[in-house]
Symmetry: C3
Subunit: 269 residues, 3 copies
């Protein structure tokens, strides 16, 4: 796939206080000044792979065909952890092999990924002479992403590996195939769950959601329709059930955090 748009989407836990993100973008621009970058976010909690996985999944579909999405939440940087790449008809993904791509791989039914081999000649020639052991974002991910965005074939950089161990990350069918949890708390305090409004209609079947001591029954169609002071369920912009309040921070008021377990009761149960 020769990308139509040389564009790289970036998601990291580097934050914006340090020079890390700027150095990554500078490294990309040094190789290919025509490549645009779009930040998904750099404020993933430090080492919070699960949060990164959600934020990448919730945004990648909106990127143009040909975009390369790079996700660097990488507590194992410099160790033997592997770097993987994955490809769909429309996008490419590059990340450490630590689970941050799991939601995307599941969603896209990707059964095979490329394990990058930095020591392989075809790969090594694309990397700087000196590679630090603590900042692969700048020294490995940025240059590889630039080359991939410019048309280098992902498969030329390593070997194939099966990924069919992935388990269903969403609660979406008749039975509970997975546990209902909080995937993410957003800036407004909206609580994004892993319960998905799918073909089977979670909304019409859900009786109640228990979150700690709180029981949430009601559904709303928009924030403004929520009775003041009440917590409601809403199908959010990613198709996941969210627990929200009107102009208030639901997570703070309900005492919920990322990874908090939720208890969902379906009608007739």
């Amino acid at each position: 796939m020769q990308p139509k748009t040389p564009l790289i989407g970036l998601l990291t836990d580097f934050g914006l206080r340090d020079q890390y993100v700027g150095a990554m973008k500078a490294a990309i621009a040094s190789l290919r000044p025509d490549i645009r970058t779009i930040d998904v976010t750099h404020e993933v909690g430090p080492h919070n792979i699960g949060e990164g996985a959600y934020l990448l999944w919730a945004s990648y579909k909106y990127f143009p065909v040909g975009a390369v999405l790079v996700a660097v939440v990488d507590p194992g940087v410099g160790s033997k952890r592997e770097i993987i790449g994955a490809r769909t008809d429309s996008h490419m993904f590059l990340a450490p092999d630590n689970g941050i791509l799991d939601l995307v791989l599941w969603e896209e039914k990707i059964k095979e990924v490329t394990v990058i081999r930095p020591e392989k000649a075809a790969t090594r020639s694309l990397l700087p002479k000196t590679i630090s052991s603590t900042f692969h974002g700048r020294d490995i991910f940025a240059p590889l992403a630039a080359h991939l965005a410019a048309g280098t074939r992902l498969e030329s950089l390593g070997n194939q590996k099966r990924t069919d161990w992935l388990k269903q990350p969403f609660v979406e069918k008749d039975s509970l195939e997975s546990t209902a949890v909080v995937l993410h708390i957003d800036r407004f305090g909206n609580i994004i769950t892993n319960i998905r409004e799918g073909a089977s209609g979670v909304r019409s079947r859900t009786l109640m959601l228990k979150a700690g001591k709180h029981r949430i029954h009601g559904w709303a169609d928009s924030y403004e329709a929520i009775p003041s002071g009440n917590a409601c369920m809403i199908v959010g912009s990613s198709g996941l059930v969210e627990i929200v309040m009107r102009e208030r921070n639901a997570a703070a008021l309900l005492g919920l955090k990322q990874r908090s377990k939720l208890n969902i009761t379906f009608k007739g149960q």
Copy 2:
């Protein structure tokens, strides 16, 4: 107006922790990869329309001719609140009709705005098939901004509406036409007021500013000219009177917040 520069300025209260801003930019790039975006800020306080209005007003004039400025602080998203667009000889504005454009409309003497009609065929054809009820930034504002930046006529997207109810937002003339208030506290703790240094010379006429228990008399020409530990008035970079201290956080030390009322005494009063 066919824009010279396909450029979109973005201001939201989405913050940079979540994927929201990235998804908006991705949606723009998917439609028109050549359009540049410049962030005014995404750290407007959640639902803080007044702060957004100030930050947009303080920055839009510096954008190139043809730029489209999009302001999404939108507590009413998904409700019947309307989306409006406005146009000057040099810029275009797109925002929810909740007051966030008020300072710009006043400044530019815009008496008529376009109320966007998303259900109108000319508008609907520019939007994605599915429009979420909670994220119009991605599903309505981003695509409309992309099309406007690329040359679509704003007037083709809806109907005209009068805006002549706007009231003077600045204290700038001989009599107090409006109340003096704090518009914004910036990162440095500088207190930006709605008192404007205009043709009539507010500086030469002002005797004293009372802010809570504090009385501020002095004026400075630059931060370094301020006596250490003193709070002074200064005409800031937007032409508004600011209360500042030298290398200290004036807002924290004086206990002032956005919307705090100020008492201004003119000479001879």
Copy 3:
């Protein structure tokens, strides 16, 4: 030097809450819409010149040839403080003359800088009619950077001045030429020191680093190699010795801050 890539790198202490960074970028785009900008960071602590100097030094080498790096941490804005520019074969630098360029000037062995003369006709013609006394980022640095990135000769904007008063900022040789200090605490709590792993091999010669009450002996090659709960030394991605812990905030746990003094003991001392 006619830049190959019209690109500006930006580092400021303006933060991302206000409109300041957006206004700078808008001012650049208004002059030259083809110039790209890359943010190093805008979250330098307010007025923290030393932190800005480190972050600029740690990132500038990764920018493409021809890039203009602008560093605005400028407590003296509007006073008689001077603005300086410096040039290497590959990059250009523009900043207030307050020390923020010191690490770069030292690293690049720059002995002469250009003192910008805003009142000089060649310079004045590049600036807006009205120049605020509090926001030179927008009114002076942005337009000058745009013109420099587009090919204006730095030397045409002012006069030359010697900089040979610079003292060695790093601890890197046999004797302690400078004091060991903390240059920066990054987002992860990694403690970046001014001890440099150079030709003389600081790592092989260092016996112990004393930080407050804590004594650090061990070295690691990657974060994952650090024994859980231990603080180790590591040669970081900029070639400086860092004190780090595995997935924990070393700075918070050791009670260290930027500018904290460190005590380094070499073998045989």
